[in-house]
C-alpha cells in the first residue's frame, strides 16, 4: 500500500511538474512565441515584432459579431498607451504613471496592482505614459518615467529589485516596454527634447546588475564621434524610447534611435550626428555594435527613428533573405538586409518634400524648403512610434500614417541647460493661428485636421515599395496595427474608432466607436478556446470577442 501511495505521489508530481514549469515564461517560450498563439509574450507579440497573431477564430465572415466583453478603466487621465501581455489566461497591463495590473484575461477582474511612484523630478517630454511590461520566468519588468527599471513578481505584484539608470531631473525618462533576451532585460532612455545623451542598457534579470551599456552618441574615443563638432555630442540626443526586436539566429538585437539635439537647429551641430535617427544592430550578450544604418543624417525635423523594427524572412530578388522593414517618421519606407545593415530599397509612403529620394546607399537626397515654407511630412512625421504590422500570409507591410501633413520649422540658437528643453527653435502649422497638430487630441472635437492633414492605414508591398491599398481616415492615425491569420487588420486612430479591415483589400468590415483616442497597439489572445482582441482607447482598455 505504501509503495502504491509512493508511486501515486510521484506519478501525480510528474503530472504537476510540467504545469508548474509551464507557468514560467522561459526564454525558450519567448523564442517560440508562435507555438503558443493563445499568449502575447512580448510588446510586439514576437521577437520579429510583426504584431501578427496566428489566431483565426475571428474572421471576415463573423467579425461583425464582435462584442465588448469587458472594460478596464484606468485610474489616470494620462494617455493610455499600453499593449498588455497575456500569459496563460493572465493579462499584465500598465497604467500611468507606472502601475502594473494583473487581470483575468477573460473577465478583466484584477488580481493585484503594483504601484510605483516616480520621482517628481521626472519630466518626460510628451506625457507621463508607459507602453507595457516584459516578462521572464515569474518576473515582470517595467521601465519608469523617472528612468528606473523595476522587477516585479508576476504572481504577487511585489517589487523584487529596482535600479536607477539615469537622472530624471536631467530629462532622462523611460516609457517603452523592455525587451527580454536570454537572461537579460534591455531598455533605452527617452529625453531627446532635453539634450540627453541616449543609451541602451542590458541588466541581469535576476539581480538587476547592469551587464552592458551602449551610448548612442559616441564619445571622442568611440567610432562615429567624427560626425560631431567638438562638444556638441555631450547633449546630442539619440534617445531610445521604443522596444527593439531580436534575431536569435544572427544573435542581434535591433533598436531605433531618436532625434539629435537640439531638435530643430541643425546649424548648432554640424555633421551627420551619429547615431541619431539610426537603427543599431547590437550583440545582446555584449552590447557591441555590429552595424548601423542612419535614416536621416543631420536631421532638422525631429524625425525620430524609434519605430519598431519589423523582421521578415522572405525572398528578395529571388533569394531567401533576412530582411528588416521600416516605415520611418521621415516619410520613407525602407527594406534593409538585417544581417549586414545594407540598404536594399526605399520609397516615400506619404507626401515628402524634404528629400527628392534616396541614393543607392539609402542616404536621402535632401531638398530643404525655403524659410517659412512648409516641410512634408510635419513634425509628427509620416508615421510615428505607433506599431506597424507584417502579415506573412499577405506578404504586406502595414503602417498607420499622417497624410498631407506639414510643419514650418524655424531653427534658433539655443543654450544647453541641463534639465531644460533643448529643442533649438520652433515648429508651427502652415495655417496661420492654427495649433500644430500634436500627438494627442485635446478633446472630443476634431478641430484642425482637414486643413492640416488626415490619417490612413497604408498597405505596402515590400518587394516594390508600392501601395497595395490605402484606407483613408478623416483624423490622423495614432494607433498601432494588428494583423491576424484570418487576414484581418485591426487599428484605430485619434478619432477613437476601432476598426477591422480586410488585410488583403483594405475594405472596412467592422467598426466600433470607443469614445477616446487610440494611441496604443491592439493585441490578440485566446482563453478557453475563445479569441479576444484588446485595445486601449481614451482612458479605458477594451476587450472584444465573438458573441456567444
Amino acid at each position: 500500500m505504501r509503495d502504491f501511495r509512493r508511486t501515486f505521489f510521484f506519478l501525480a508530481l510528474s503530472l504537476l511538474i510540467p504545469f508548474s514549469l509551464r507557468a514560467q515564461v522561459t526564454s525558450q517560450r519567448i523564442l517560440h512565441a508562435a507555438d503558443e498563439p493563445q499568449n502575447w509574450l512580448t510588446y510586439s507579440g514576437s521577437y520579429a515584432s510583426q504584431r501578427y497573431s496566428p489566431l483565426n477564430q475571428v474572421d471576415a465572415a463573423n467579425v461583425k459579431n464582435l462584442e465588448l466583453k469587458w472594460v478596464f478603466q484606468a485610474q489616470s487621465l494620462q494617455k493610455f498607451e499600453t499593449t498588455p501581455l497575456v500569459v496563460d489566461g493572465i493579462m499584465y497591463l500598465t497604467q500611468s504613471p507606472n502601475d502594473i495590473i494583473a487581470v483575468d484575461a477573460k473577465t478583466g477582474r484584477a488580481f493585484w496592482v503594483y504601484h510605483y511612484a516616480p520621482s517628481p523630478q521626472a519630466r518626460p517630454c510628451c506625457g507621463i505614459v508607459n507602453r507595457g511590461v516584459a516578462i521572464l520566468g515569474d518576473t515582470l519588468f517595467m521601465a519608469t518615467v523617472d528612468a528606473h527599471l523595476v522587477a516585479v513578481d508576476a504572481k504577487t505584484g511585489h517589487a523584487i529589485w529596482n535600479v536607477k539608470l539615469a537622472e530624471p531631473a536631467a530629462g532622462y525618462a523611460m516609457t517603452m516596454a523592455p525587451l527580454v533576451v536570454k537572461d537579460k532585460v534591455i531598455v533605452g532612455v527617452a529625453g531627446g527634447e532635453f539634450g540627453v545623451r541616449g543609451f541602451i542598457s542590458a541588466f541581469d534579470s535576476e539581480t538587476g546588475k547592469q551587464a552592458w551599456r551602449f551610448d548612442t552618441i559616441p564619445s571622442p574615443d568611440q567610432a562615429g564621434h567624427e560626425s560631431w563638432r567638438e562638444g556638441d555630442w555631450q547633449h546630442g540626443g539619440g534617445a531610445v524610447w521604443m522596444t527593439g526586436s531580436y534575431d536569435p539566429d544572427l544573435n542581434l538585437v535591433y533598436w531605433g534611435t531618436g532625434n539629435p539635439g537640439p531638435d530643430w537647429n541643425p546649424a548648432q551641430r554640424p555633421g551627420d550626428n551619429l547615431y541619431s535617427d539610426c537603427v543599431l544592430a547590437l550583440n545582446p550578450d555584449t552590447g557591441k555594435m555590429k552595424w548601423y544604418f542612419q535614416f536621416t543624417p543631420h536631421d532638422p525635423y525631429d524625425y525620430d527613428s524609434v519605430q519598431v523594427p519589423v523582421l521578415v524572412n522572405a525572398n528578395w530578388k529571388g533569394t531567401p533573405s533576412k530582411l528588416m522593414m521600416w516605415g520611418n517618421r521621415n516619410g520613407f519606407f525602407y527594406v534593409l538586409d538585417r544581417a549586414t545593415g545594407k540598404f536594399l530599397d526605399g520609397h516615400p509612403f506619404v507626401k515628402v518634400n524634404w528629400a527628392s529620394g534616396l541614393d543607392a546607399n539609402g542616404r536621402p537626397i535632401t531638398t530643404p524648403q525655403p524659410a517659412g515654407e512648409p516641410t512634408f511630412p510635419g513634425i509628427q512625421g509620416g508615421t510615428n512610434w505607433y506599431s506597424p504590422s507584417y502579415s506573412p500570409r499577405t506578404g504586406l507591410f502595414y503602417l498607420p500614417a499622417w497624410e498631407n501633413y506639414s510643419t514650418i520649422f524655424t531653427g534658433i540658437d539655443t543654450d544647453f541647460h541641463e534639465g531644460q528643453r533643448f529643442t533649438g527653435g520652433a515648429n508651427t502649422a502652415p495655417i496661420p493661428g492654427a495649433e500644430n497638430p500634436v500627438g494627442a487630441r485635446q478633446g472630443p472635437v476634431n478641430v484642425y485636421t482637414e486643413a492640416l492633414g488626415s490619417g490612413a492605414v497604408i498597405a505596402i508591398d515590400p518587394a516594390t515599395g508600392e501601395k497595395k491599398w490605402k484606407f483613408d481616415m478623416h483624423d490622423v492615425n495614432t494607433g498601432g496595427i494588428l494583423t491576424t491569420a484570418s487576414d484581418l487588420l485591426f487599428n484605430g486612430g485619434r478619432e477613437g474608432y476601432f476598426q477591422a479591415l480586410d488585410a488583403r483589400t483594405g475594405a472596412l468590415l467592422w467598426k466600433q466607436n470607443l469614445g477616446g483616442e487610440i494611441i496604443a497597439g491592439p493585441m490578440s489572445y485566446r482563453v478557453d478556446g475563445k479569441q479576444y482582441i484588446t485595445i486601449a482607447a481614451g482612458n479605458n482598455l477594451f476587450t472584444f470577442a465573438l458573441r456567444e
Binding site: T414, D415, A426, N446, D472
Partner: protein
Amino acid sequence: MKLCRLSLIVLSQCAILCAVFAFCGSEVQAQGQDRAPVYFPADIQYGAQIFASQCTACHGENGDLIPGVNFRAGQFKRVISDNDLRLTITTGVPGTAMQPFTFGASELTGIVAYLRNMSTFDTRNLMLGNKTRGQTLFEGVGKCATCHAVNGKGPRVAPDLGDIGTIRTADLLHRTLLDPAGAMLPVSRYVHAVTRDGKTINGRRLNEDTYTVQLIDEQEHMLSLTKADLRDYSVVKTTSMPSYKDKFSAQELADLEAYLLSLKGVK
C-alpha cells in the same frame, strides 16, 4: 464711454497687483526659446495696453524699475523662454510683491509679445480701440450680430463670440476681420450635404470623423449625418462673412477688435 490712451484695460487692479520680475538666482538674458519668437503687431499692441494698466506701477513705463530687471534691454533674473515668462506671470514669485495674475491666453500672448519687443515698439504708434464704439459697430453697420451671438443672445448661424477674447489672440482676430475665409478655424466651415433621398442640408460644421459629421443647420437644428447615407458631401471653403479690410477704417477696426477682446465669457 471713450477710453483714454493706455487705459483700455481696467485699471482697478493696477494699484494692488505689482508685476515684479525680481527672481532669485543669477541674471540670465532672455534667450533659449523653445517656441517660436514670432510676435505679431496686433499682439504687441494689445500687450502694450495691458502692460500700461497692469505692470507699470511696479516695473515702470520702461520696465526697468526693479533692480536687475530691464524689459526693454531683455534683462531678466531667471526667465529664459516665453513659457518661463508666462509661468512667472500666472504663478507669481513667492516672497516678493509679484502676485499671480489671472490673465487669459490672449492676454498672456499679448504681454509676452510686448515684453519681447519693448525695445523696438513705439507706443506713439498705438492704435487704441474703444470697445464701446466697437460694440456699436458690431451691432450696427458691421452687421456682425446678424450671424454671431454673444453669450447666447443672437443667432447661431456663426459661432457665439461671447468668449472670443479669451480664445483668440489679438493678431488672429485682426487677421480674421481682414481675411475671414483664410483665418477661420477649419472645423467651423460650412458643409453642404445631399441625402440619398434628395434632401439638401447646409450648415456650420461642429465636428467630423471618418464616418459621420455633426453640424448646426440653417434652421438651427443640431444634426449628425452618416456619410454613407449621403449622395453628396462637401466642405465649403468660402464664407459669407465679409472682409472688413475696405469697409472699416483702421480706427474702426481697432474699436471692433477692442470690443471682441473684451468678451471674456460668462463668469
